[in-house]
């Protein structure tokens, strides 16, 4: 009887675990992992000559928590993103395709350095891809 009960509980626990699928946020390392990626990506953005016009005269301390919250929320993490949508928040910045590509490349570099598997990286990039139309305006 005890063995049956234990088996039932174990089955229920396993089933429950399967149902609560791991989010992309979890796969990126949760809070610590995503913070590392965001921090490294911003370092690359602020030093990338291709992005100088975009990040020169931007307060990194102001941007970082917003950037983190955006990625946390987008990847299914437990965060609230209070910033504006991609189109209004990039309006007036006149971002072209080359600069958008540079941002993506630097993000990939940051994920590579955090040893994020290629498949997980692609999941994030797939989430960001539809936003390109809202961000690239010239």
């Amino acid at each position: 009887m005890r063995i049956l009960l234990f088996a039932s509980l174990l089955a229920a626990a396993l089933t429950g675990r399967c149902m609560a699928a791991e989010t992309l946020y979890d796969q990126l390392g949760g809070h610590d992992g995503l913070s590392r990626i965001v921090d490294r990506a911003l370092t690359l953005y602020f030093t990338d000559p291709r992005l100088h016009a975009d990040f020169d005269n931007i307060n990194r301390d102001w941007l970082q928590p917003r950037f983190y919250a955006f990625f946390c929320k987008t990847t299914g993490g437990p965060c609230v993103y209070k910033g504006r949508a991609m189109a209004p928040s990039h309006k007036g910045l006149h971002i072209d395709q080359a600069r958008f590509n540079a941002v993506v490349e630097d993000l990939q570099t940051a994920m590579d350095e955090s040893r994020i598997p290629f498949r997980t990286q692609n999941r994030l990039l797939a989430l960001l891809a539809p936003m390109e139309r809202a961000i690239v305006t010239r």
Partner: protein, 105 residues
């Protein structure tokens, strides 16, 4: 003569001040003026004519202000209630500076 000149130097700039305040635009991640002198109790209207957000603030021992995120087209009105010299900055764009001298009536 020297005293008279000194008095004129001190008074003339104040004579041109308007208690209703002045307008400073935020354009191309910069303020359109680098310095301004106003009367205590008057205001500066910060008009965001850029196409992106700004956030003006003053952080000093005797006067503090924060506009929070100021969308394109919005105007932040800052009333300076204390005399002295202040630096107005933008939280988002750290190279933006406006020096404000606030003088008593």
């Amino acid at each position: 003569m020297a005293v008279r000149a000194a008095l004129l130097t001190a008074i003339l700039p104040l004579a041109g001040l308007d208690a209703s305040g002045v307008v400073v635009e935020q354009l191309n991640r910069a303020f359109t003026r680098s310095s301004v002198t106003i009367l205590k109790g008057s205001n500066i209207r910060f008009s965001n004519v850029d196409e992106f957000d700004h956030e003006v603030y003053v952080d000093s021992p005797n006067f503090n202000y924060d506009s929070y995120e100021q969308s394109p087209g919005e105007t932040a009105v800052v009333t300076f209630t204390a005399a002295g010299s202040f630096e107005v900055r933008c939280h988002i764009h750290p190279k933006m500076h406006l020096h404000v001298d606030v003088v008593d009536h």
